[in-house]
């Protein structure tokens, strides 16, 4: 028994050591945002960005509330688009037979592991040609295309799990194929739709790169792009208080969101976890 306790103690010691930096990180975010390190006093002066536009190292950025609205609109649009495109596609890949399906499926897998980021230079030019630079539509289309293969893969897994008999039964009872898809199958894969919605939302909420590259108007940024502008302005951050304060305002909702949705992370087979 005593060797067992000793072993447990050892495991706890190591894990605590590994985890300490992360705890330190979390504590620091709160301290840096609220504590003035030179005077040692707590204050909320860093949170004045709620009331007035931010000015930092020569950059003037607009008031934060329209940016918050942009973030929400952008994130929900991404979720909407990804769900409405990936669910029918996954259904077709899982249930329907069509010419070129095998090739399409191979392509999907290839694309899922292929880094789309390497094509960004050419993508930029295509957007220039289509006059989609500096528009939300351009960012949306590029972002959605990049993450779709992963979403389709997850959704296909969920469709594969639903027994055929259920669909058969619906059709015997007089449903059309589409009716069976809409009324019977979709309710069965709702957990999957929930999962990809969460992934899409988290991805969209954190997206800063495409905004840095494709959006030039400061008032069109989302929170991630807004912070990216501040963080990459100088080599060295001059005012940690301001940046962590905005960072906290930006991160806390997503942590709360994550706590409520974290179960889906464990449910989803992200691929390769089991030998198929």
């Amino acid at each position: 028994m005593s060797t067992r306790t000793l072993k447990q103690l050892l495991v706890h010691t190591y894990l605590t050591l590994f985890t300490l930096p992360i705890i330190a990180m979390i504590v620091w975010y709160f301290l840096a945002a609220t504590l003035n390190f030179t005077t040692g006093q707590f204050s909320f002066e860093n949170f004045s960005f709620f009331r007035e536009p931010v000015e930092y190292a020569g950059v003037e950025l607009p008031l934060i509330w329209p940016i918050v609205l942009n973030t929400l609109v952008y994130s929900f649009l991404i979720v909407f688009l990804e769900v409405f495109i990936s669910v029918p596609t996954a259904y077709a890949f899982s249930r329907l037979d069509f010419k070129g399906k095998n090739a399409a499926m191979k392509f999907l897998f290839l694309m899922r592991s292929f880094p789309g980021i390497t094509l960004i230079i050419a993508t930029f030019f295509i957007l220039v040609q289509m006059h989609l630079v500096n528009t939300y539509l351009g960012v949306l289309l590029v972002a959605v295309t990049g993450s779709l293969p992963g979403r389709v893969y997850i959704m296909k897994g969920f469709f594969d799990e639903v027994p055929w008999d259920i669909e058969w039964a619906a059709m015997v009872d007089g449903c059309t194929r589409y009716g069976a898809f809409k009324k019977v199958l979709v309710p069965f894969v709702l957990p999957g739709i929930g999962a990809i919605s969460v992934f899409s939302f988290l991805g969209a909420y954190g997206e800063w790169f495409l905004f840095k590259l494709l959006i030039f108007n400061d008032d069109m940024l989302t929170l991630a792009g807004y912070l990216a502008r501040l963080v990459t302005k100088e080599d060295q951050i001059l005012n940690y208080g301001l940046i962590t304060a905005i960072g906290l305002f930006y991160t806390l909702p997503i942590i709360v969101f994550y706590i409520f949705t974290q179960k889906v992370f464990m449910k989803v087979n992200l691929g390769g976890a089991k030998q198929v």
């Binding site: 990180m25 409405f84 050419a122 289309l141 055929w164």
Partner: protein, 315 residues
């Protein structure tokens, strides 16, 4: 109704699908196919086309043949950049795999079912949940070159250094790798934990009864289960490290000098900072080639046709 007539028809060769049914599946995949065509296939072709031109800020592309590729291989930055890419990818992969393995074995085997295990796992997930732009501020603060930075403050406090150390110019690559690893560990950890979790409890008990040591439980029971997830994580993270540069861009932007510039970041800088779009495309084509080889390797490892379940009914 029609499926009833379909069934015998599927056996006999006489049945031919009406046009409406043939077109039906394509309606489902059309939005997806259109997007992929315009924003994946087209850029892929355009990258190849651009790499043979001298497209730059003047926007008057001229065909230059293999000139760009000759330039890439004659580029005096190339050896350094390739070395950076290799160091970054291999070290990040090795460290994050090791930690993912240790943490998932510790939480799913040694502390299985304990609250502490959940707490550790959730804490480790936090770096990957925090948006990248916020996450990097912590690392910037930790290694801030002035005396305000945490590491410098501690060193000065204990008198280990007399002047603040400028970490980002001395150990930029180490910082970049550290920050990348801490946020990628959780991805591997989730997959490995799920795999360990699927091992039936009886196996451990049987091993205990037979007097197996912890070492042999880990080596003979747990490790074989992890073969597939480990291979998956290795290849997918390797592709990610070779091709993506988000953290590097936020943390050091490739500097100081070119100390943390990897090949894919170099392509980006050539195209968007210096406006040598053609040259940038040629460099990124090399990244594409490397990723492509890794991707094919990846598909080889996972028997492809096994992964695609055939659909079992004719419609």
């Amino acid at each position: 109704m029609d499926h009833l007539t379909d069934r015998p028809a599927a056996v006999g060769p006489a049945y031919r699908k009406p046009f409406k049914k043939k077109i039906y599946p394509y309606l489902f995949i059309m939005p997806f196919a259109a997007l992929v065509l315009v924003f994946f296939v087209l850029p892929a072709l355009a990258t190849v086309a651009m790499s043979f031109t001298d497209l730059n800020a003047s926007m008057k592309p001229k065909f230059v043949g293999l000139e760009n590729f000759k330039r890439v291989f004659a580029d005096y930055n190339l050896p350094d950049i390739l070395r950076n890419t290799a160091i970054f990818a291999v070290l990040s992969l090795a460290i994050s795999l090791l930690f993912a393995l240790v943490i998932s074995v510790a939480t799913q085997y040694f502390l299985k079912g304990k609250i502490a295990a959940v707490v550790y796992r959730v804490l480790w997930l936090i770096p990957s949940i925090i948006p990248a732009v916020v996450y990097v501020t912590f690392w910037k603060y930790l290694f801030d070159p002035t005396e305000g930075g945490l590491v410098n403050r501690i060193l000065l406090q204990f008198g280990l250094e007399s002047d603040p150390v400028s970490w980002f110019s001395k150990a930029a690559m180490a910082i970049v790798i550290l920050a990348t690893v801490v946020s990628t560990i959780s991805g591997g950890m989730i997959l490995l934990s799920a795999a360990i979790n699927s091992i039936p409890e009886d196996l451990y008990k049987a091993a205990k009864v037979d007097g197996a040591s912890e070492k042999s439980v880990i080596l003979k029971i747990i490790m074989p289960t992890l073969k597939w997830p480990l291979m998956y994580i290795t290849i997918s993270e390797l592709i990610g490290f070779v091709s993506s540069y988000f953290f590097i861009m936020l943390l050091t932007n490739g500097g100081p000098m070119r100390d943390t510039t990897t090949l894919s970041l170099y392509a980006y800088q050539q195209a968007f900072n210096l406006k040598y779009y053609g040259y940038g495309a040629a460099v990124s084509l090399i990244v594409v080639a490397i990723s492509f080889v890794l991707t094919l390797l990846f598909l080889r490892l996972f028997d492809f046709d096994e992964m695609i379940k055939p659909s079992r009914i004719e419609d």
